[in-house]
Point group: C2
Chain length 104, copies 2
């Protein structure tokens, strides 16, 4: 997998969530799709989704529990997980994450 | 000034400094130049430069004291300041900054 996005537009203003525990920038692609590229610092957070998402972890380590599930799963750099639309997930970040969020 | 960069390459891995008080992503331009796009959370930090830099503040508020100067200057979104190469500056971030660092 490439370590960069080419030929994209990047919004200058960051998206800050949870008092800065999550920082992302919005990336726009020529085909009209959007992704967010960001960092999550060690923390225990709950994210809600509007559109379905694919969370691609490019570096770091976390544990995830999706809404309606009882088991936690561990994800590290190179792995990804799907989140349904209008849902949520709990995320315990163990080692600071670099992530790409793909919107479905 | 545009609120976005078009036709650029973005590196997926973030640059983290000062225990996450500063988070940036590297942006590469078609002409070979490089900028970093980032956030600085409220803090008092000292940055060192290699190459000369222009620090463009796109949002937020900070106070700056350049190496060798005795006065602090306040900068807000829409302003910028120059930093010499092989130098340093103290930065007191009052309101979280969105910034673009241009390398000379």
């Amino acid at each position: 997998m490439s370590d960069q996005f080419d030929n994209v537009t990047v919004k200058k203003q960051a998206n800050l969530y949870f008092d800065g525990k999550c920082v992302s920038h919005t990336i726009l692609f020529a085909d009209g799709t959007k992704k967010t590229l960001g960092v999550i610092f060690p923390s225990s957070l709950t994210f809600s989704t509007g559109a379905p998402e694919i969370m691609e972890i490019t570096a770091g380590k976390c544990r995830i529990k999706l809404a309606g599930q009882s088991e936690w799963q561990t994800y590290e750099g190179g792995q990804q997980f799907d989140v349904a639309g209008n849902s949520s997930f709990e995320i315990e970040t163990i080692d600071t994450l670099d992530y790409v969020c793909h919107f479905g």
